[in-house]
């Protein structure tokens, strides 16, 4: 007699939707937002936290102007993702999961983005760069620096 599965799924979708909006708006999910969403959607704060930490798309800390995500899934790994990640970390002076001090870049990793054939892959502000070589890293960073990020991608 629990809430029907449909309804549960609907609640869950609604929550993810709202979390997305907040993430877009602020670049991260502030603690204040969790308590507001909890009141609005009538879901406990802990449940919301459970959902938002499940997805890499949400972050609890502010993200930089530009987001670079490196795939470290198995296929990309064997094709040299660790080296690509190293290169980004060295060039940006931050570790995976961190944001640069000038708030320009956030570097993150992800497990497989479903384009294994193109590995290794980096996603820079939503743009996919496949079959990446370490020497291309500079170019990607330069390109990001020259574009002002507007909106989501």
């Amino acid at each position: 007699m629990e809430k029907s599965v449909d309804e549960l799924e609907k609640d869950q979708r609604e929550l993810i939707h709202v979390l997305h909006d907040v993430q877009e708006e602020f670049g991260y999910i502030p603690a204040q937002a969790i308590s507001q969403i909890s009141k609005q959607l009538k879901i406990s704060e802990s449940e919301i936290f459970g959902v938002l930490t499940f997805y890499k798309a949400f972050s609890l800390k502010p993200r930089g102007e530009h987001l670079i995500t490196i795939c470290v899934g198995t296929a990309c790994h064997v094709r040299g993702a660790p080296m690509i990640l190293d290169e980004f970390e060295r060039k940006l002076g931050i570790k995976a999961g961190e944001t640069s001090e000038d708030n320009q870049f956030t570097l993150e990793t992800v497990n497989c983005v479903g384009a294994c054939a193109l590995g290794p892959i980096a996603i820079a502000d939503g743009e996919y760069h496949g079959q990446l070589k370490t020497r291309k890293v500079d170019k990607i960073i330069d390109k990001l620096m020259s574009t002002k990020r507007n909106g989501s991608d």
Binding site: M1, E2, S38, T53
Partner: protein, 854 residues
């Protein structure tokens, strides 16, 4: 439906999982994440089975039996797979002890060496051998772990009261998450992060204190490992006795299982099965019992005042002294205060003693200021057809629930679990409350009325309901015409002003009420504990009658109903408890026999005061004699819970010091005063007389009580259905310049006899200190007050002290405080809320002002 499990033919009547069917038929399947009260989770995969004609290994805990299924539970390949799964689980768990060849030999020493910070093996685990992981390892005969061990190095959480959390021991079975969400409705715990990072946690990893935890301990009780463990138990040795009793800390009357060693209580848990609580309790029953029974404030010896000092004496001397002095008073000069927290037997004897030995009708008790009394009065006055008995599980069958005057998860925890069940099954909940309650998350409508405006609120709801209804056929019910007409006087703009509730909330509620088929209207002391309580109830009654719903009166004390029945039928000629309090101060009462609660008596003008109680408090300074009473844990007796269920219990430990059961003390004293008919040998002899003399207990024998948990107070429901015309009441006194704030009193039973539970438990003080004066952030800012500041609360009828607790749950202008009969002399709301102009009422809405104190 027929299925075959391991060659055994099994007949099934209703929908069941394979695991349930197997278990009921004595076939054991290893399992860890499954729990009989929780939804299937299928996380651990130990319960896998093979089903003929199907591929793979479905988990039996989430696969439902179908007609004709042939299931195998122990094929070699299943066992091999299970062992491999278990080895994987064990690779992230301290496993040395589990696979140690010496483990049997070391069993008896386990309890002595487990007082360590980190658990690195079973010998050091706070689980005391109650470990389901151990059981599964034994059942599957796992003796090695072939995977590399992983220690997650998670920090052990100790910042919360009552229990520690060590997620290094967690096997991610999700039972705690599910029980907290599905059964308790707190949803404090969630799975957070994922993959190898996954861990059970709270929002932003905050302490439970800040994550909506009720501290019910349900998560601790379902945890199959030592990950969650009761802190106080870690320093104890193993119990040598387990006994059942009934919790005395609220009107639910939960069945408890108490563990003790050498006559000292170590812990209390919900009895796993049965009772109203079916395996659940609240923070008080779970973590408070031991503290109160073994409180350092216990009175352990009889005392009498000699040369200005209380001196310990023998029972004989004490009783002789009291008997001799009491004989001098009778009738109006003397009063007795009884308790609704002691047993029926105790109350019966107190009543009999007052009439026979004290020769007085002044038998006062908190019963007269309870929702039960207000309700009964209304029913009798109006000749309504309404009983007091109900069954808690009926609440979960309602489609619409209406709640007023109680914060259920705190005040009536088991009723809350039933409400939650209803809501999860699709019922709609409407909450009328000036304060924001934690359960509002489950409410479809929250009517945030100004304190004390319920008559207008409920009556306008009736009006809105009648307007949206087509034809309810109410005209056949007596009084409907004049009721309807009386509602004409209600004009919305005025109602909006009085209650502060916007129109759409009324409409939404009316709509929900219209849609729902069966309805339940729950009310607590918050609704009735004021001079217009009867009118509040009449207005709620009308609304309920429009829906043919029933009212559920939710009293506070564990034996309120029992005490009520012991007095039922007697005239109401004597003074009520508030009148006694005033009379001892005016000097019209000369001798007081205090066997129940009464606030500070330092300034009372009495000649002779006897205290019969279990705990010391400031009133003892005034006492001429103190008679030590046993607690519930040391006595046999009966309590009647909120449903009207009569529950007999037996002592779980022996008497403490020289304390004796209340019935024993008072009947001995009566004998000393020369009265016949008090020669009871035991509690059962008293019960025998009760079943002879008390109508509600007629034909209820000791044997019946011993063998049946389904014994209810005998009641005859007479009367008829009838509407009561609406009469406007004076709203609470306008908060003037002098007293600009309204103090609204919360009713949670945080005391046992004359002990405030917060006095004995730092943990409870962290959750809800009875000295908190809760104020809204806006008022705090205006008054420049911070959390923890000492304040003086001033009202027309007196002052009290407390500590500021800023709470966003309160609206501006309203102050919240918890009701306690007495703690110590500088803190008690009671004198403030006794008002001389009303008999039988405690004001729960008091105009006050707040100043910073020292």
């Amino acid at each position: 439906m027929k299925i075959i499990i391991d060659g055994k033919r099994i007949e099934l009547d209703d929908k069941k999982t394979i695991l349930e069917a197997a278990r009921e038929n004595g076939i054991s399947i290893p399992s860890l994440c499954d729990h009989q009260r929780l939804s299937p989770f299928a996380g651990c995969r130990l319960c896998i089975v093979q089903i003929k004609g199907r591929k793979g290994y479905p988990p039996s805990c989430s696969t439902y039996a179908e007609d004709g299924m042939e299931v195998k539970t122990k094929t070699p390949s299943l066992q091999r797979l299970r062992r491999e799964i278990l080895e994987l689980i064990l690779s992230e768990h301290p496993n040395a002890c589990l696979i140690c060849t010496e483990k049997e030999n070391c069993d008896e020493f386990k309890s002595t060496i487990r007082k360590v910070g980190e658990t690195t093996g079973c010998v050091l685990c706070p689980n005391n051998g109650h470990c389901e992981l151990q059981d599964v390892v034994d059942a599957l005969k796992v003796d090695k772990v072939r995977f590399p061990s992983v220690y997650r190095e998670l920090e052990i959480k100790k910042e919360d009261p009552f229990f520690d959390r060590n997620y290094n021991l967690c096997i991610l079975c999700g039972r705690c998450v599910r029980v907290c969400h599905e059964v308790r409705g707190a949803s404090t715990l969630s799975f957070t992060y994922r993959g190898s990072q996954a861990v059970v946690g709270t929002v932003l990893d905050r302490p439970h204190l800040e994550s909506g935890c009720q501290f019910c301990g349900a998560c601790v009780d379902v945890c199959p490992t030592g990950a969650l463990s009761e802190r106080a138990l870690k320093y104890e040795s193993l119990a040598d006795d387990t006994a059942a009793t009934i919790c005395p800390l609220c009107s639910m009357g939960c069945k408890l299982e108490v563990e003790s060693k050498d006559g000292r209580i170590l812990s209390s848990r919900p009895a796993p099965e049965g009772g109203v609580n079916r395996g659940q309790v609240c923070v008080k029953g779970r973590f408070m019992i031991k503290n109160l029974v073994h409180s350092p404030r216990r009175i352990l010896k009889p005392m009498i005042r000699k040369d200005k000092e209380l001196e310990e004496v023998t029972w004989d001397e004490a009783l002789d002294f009291v008997a001799c002095r009491l004989k001098k008073y009778k009738g109006k000069e003397v009063a007795l205060v009884a308790s609704s927290q002691v047993t029926c037997e105790d109350n019966f004897i107190l009543q009999k003693f007052s009439r026979a030995a004290l020769r007085t009708e002044n038998i006062a008790s908190p019963v007269s200021v309870s929702p039960l009394s207000t309700y009964r009065e209304l029913v009798q006055e109006q000749g309504l057809k309404a009983g007091l008995n109900f069954r808690i599980e009926d609440i979960s069958k309602a489609n619409v629930l209406f709640l007023s005057g109680a914060d259920l998860p705190v005040s009536h925890p088991i009723v809350w679990l039933e409400v939650l069940k209803a809501v999860k099954a699709g019922a709609k909940l409407v909450v009328a409350s000036p304060q924001e309650l934690s359960l509002n998350r489950y409410a479809s409508v929250w009517l945030r009325n100004k304190p004390g405006t319920e008559v207008a609120l409920f009556s306008y709801l009736s009006k809105a309901f009648l307007e949206s209804e087509e034809d309810g056929g109410h005209s056949r019910v007596e009084g409907f015409g004049s009721f309807k007409k009386s509602l004409d006087k209600l004009d919305f703009s005025q109602v909006a002003q009085t209650t502060g509730v916007p129109k759409e909330k009324f409409m939404q509620t009316a709509e929900l009420l219209l849609e729902g088929e069966t309805s339940a209207f729950l009310f607590g002391a918050g609704l009735t504990q004021n001079p217009w309580g009867a009118q509040n109830l009449a207005a709620l009654h009308n609304l309920a009658l429009l829906k043919s719903g029933r009212l559920y009166p939710l009293g506070l004390e564990n034996n309120l109903r029992g005490a009520f029945e012991m007095n039922n039928g007697h005239s109401d000629k004597g003074l009520s408890i508030d009148q006694v309090f005033r009379a001892v101060h005016s000097g019209s009462i000369k001798a007081l026999y205090l066997a129940g609660p009464l606030p500070d008596l330092q300034k009372a003008k009495i000649e002779f005061l006897v205290i019969q109680g279990s705990f010391m408090n400031d009133n003892m300074e005034k006492a001429d004699a103190v008679l030590p009473a046993a607690t519930f844990a040391e006595t046999d007796g009966t309590f009647v819970n909120v449903e009207g269920r009569i529950q007999k219990f037996q002592k779980v430990i022996g008497l403490s010091g020289e304390a004796q059961p209340d019935w024993w003390i008072t009947s001995r004293l009566a004998k000393k005063m020369g009265h016949e008919g008090f020669g009871y040998k035991n509690q059962a002899a008293v019960m025998k007389e009760i079943s002879r003399d008390i109508p509600g207990f007629s034909k209820i024998s000791n044997t019946k009580l011993d063998n049946d948990d389904e014994v209810f107070v005998h009641e005859e429901v007479k009367g008829k259905e009838k509407f009561i015309p609406f009469k406007p009441v004076l709203a609470p006194e306008e908060t003037g310049q002098k007293y600009p704030l309204l103090m609204s009193v919360d009713y949670n039973l945080d005391y046992y006899r004359n002990l405030a539970l917060t006095q004995e438990s730092k943990g409870l003080r962290m959750i809800r200190d009875s000295r908190w004066i809760k104020i809204s952030p806006e008022d705090a800012k205006r008054l420049k007050l911070n959390d923890g500041d000492t304040v003086v609360v001033d009202s027309v009828s007196g002052k009290t002290q407390g500590r500021v607790r800023i709470s966003g749950a309160l609206p501006k202008g309203v102050v919240g405080a918890n009701f306690l009969w007495n703690e110590d002399s500088d803190f008690s709301l009671v004198p403030l809320s006794f008002s001389s102009s009303f008999k039988n009422h405690i004001l729960n809405i008091i105009p006050v002002k707040i100043k910073r104190g020292k």
